[in-house]
Symmetry: D2
Subunit: 123 residues, 4 copies
Amino acid sequence: MTSHSTPDVDSIDALVTRIREFSRERGWEKFHDPKSLVLALVGEVGELAELFQWVPADEAREHFADPRKRQRAAEEISDVLIYLLRLADVLGLDVGAEANAKLSDSARRFTAEEFQGRAPEKS
Amino acid sequence: MTSHSTPDVDSIDALVTRIREFSRERGWEKFHDPKSLVLALVGEVGELAELFQWVPADEAREHFADPRKRQRAAEEISDVLIYLLRLADVLGLDVGAEANAKLSDSARRFTAEEFQGRAPEKS
Amino acid sequence: MTSHSTPDVDSIDALVTRIREFSRERGWEKFHDPKSLVLALVGEVGELAELFQWVPADEAREHFADPRKRQRAAEEISDVLIYLLRLADVLGLDVGAEANAKLSDSARRFTAEEFQGRAPEKS
Amino acid sequence: MTSHSTPDVDSIDALVTRIREFSRERGWEKFHDPKSLVLALVGEVGELAELFQWVPADEAREHFADPRKRQRAAEEISDVLIYLLRLADVLGLDVGAEANAKLSDSARRFTAEEFQGRAPEKS
């Protein structure tokens, strides 16, 4: 698959491959060391946070029902995802398998009975 | 699909559904307003950044070849991904389609010819 | 002034100097290149965000009236401040003068009349 | 002191007061609940990270010797500082005293002998 073909939008692996090709075609691999990618991820998380910062908490969902605002949120979430998948790829991680393993682990640690309706405390 | 069945680890949609079920089973939807989810995402990005902060930039890739460190990176990347997908789900966004659309848009704006070997400047 | 003497707690410059001495005494200057310091700052911002993530927005102020929680917030805000001042110092910036200049600039751009009660839109 | 008088640029307290006045004059206190301020801080940290992301780690210091880039870094560091001090003020914290207390605590935990030339491990 290249970045020109119709992508399988539901496949993590297809998205990872597409981002890898996109980077390779532009000769951008040289920028993509892990620390730089974490900083790029932080930059996009910052742009995402800016969309939400002054919206009253209980109006946030309806605020983003507006098509233009919804589109902006979609773009920033996408940018975060793209750098996150690129980082995982550079580290040689299968992020889909890892995220599913993490959820299985969390399901064991935070049982529905013990943690019903309450958030785990951060130490 | 519930969070108990064997997941399709390569499907974004299956992962989103699994996270949704995980949250519903614990009654955690009440915590998952958009601003709180962005803050939770920031918390996990912080834990990811901590793994990289003092590693010399040119040793970062080999540093994470160590199995224990690799496992820690996989966990933190997974946590970021889980909150990011949860945020997109709460906003009603199809994040796979959106990320692919964003890549198509970037491919048009940053042509391989014009941006060969150089990063776009942030304004 | 060394890090052992009684500090002038209200002086930015005294705090910057104390952090510089603290780093020098431990031979930590070698870790403090700008990108690493930004990542360390991000790590502390993440710890700060975690304290707030699941607290209902309209209860946050009273939540942190609790002495133990207040203490945790004070520690994380301090950690963010320490890395921020260290970064400015490494870049040779007089952060007190710069922040005051930025406020003067903002006062000109966002006049009290034009921006009364409304937040500037991020482009 | 109001935001119009000549500020004492080295005083944390004067800077906190100036930011408080700036917010009050524009009727922006209503936006400044703690969670919103943390998100605003994250937005500015993101803008700071973007300045550094693609700069090779060992060229970062000289990169910011360029006056225009230095000015951009000064502005973003100032924005982070302003939101951090505003957050501390809203929580009723004396951030200068707290940061000095944190440094005293760190000096006890990380003695120059034991931690000479090596960074404390994050658990």
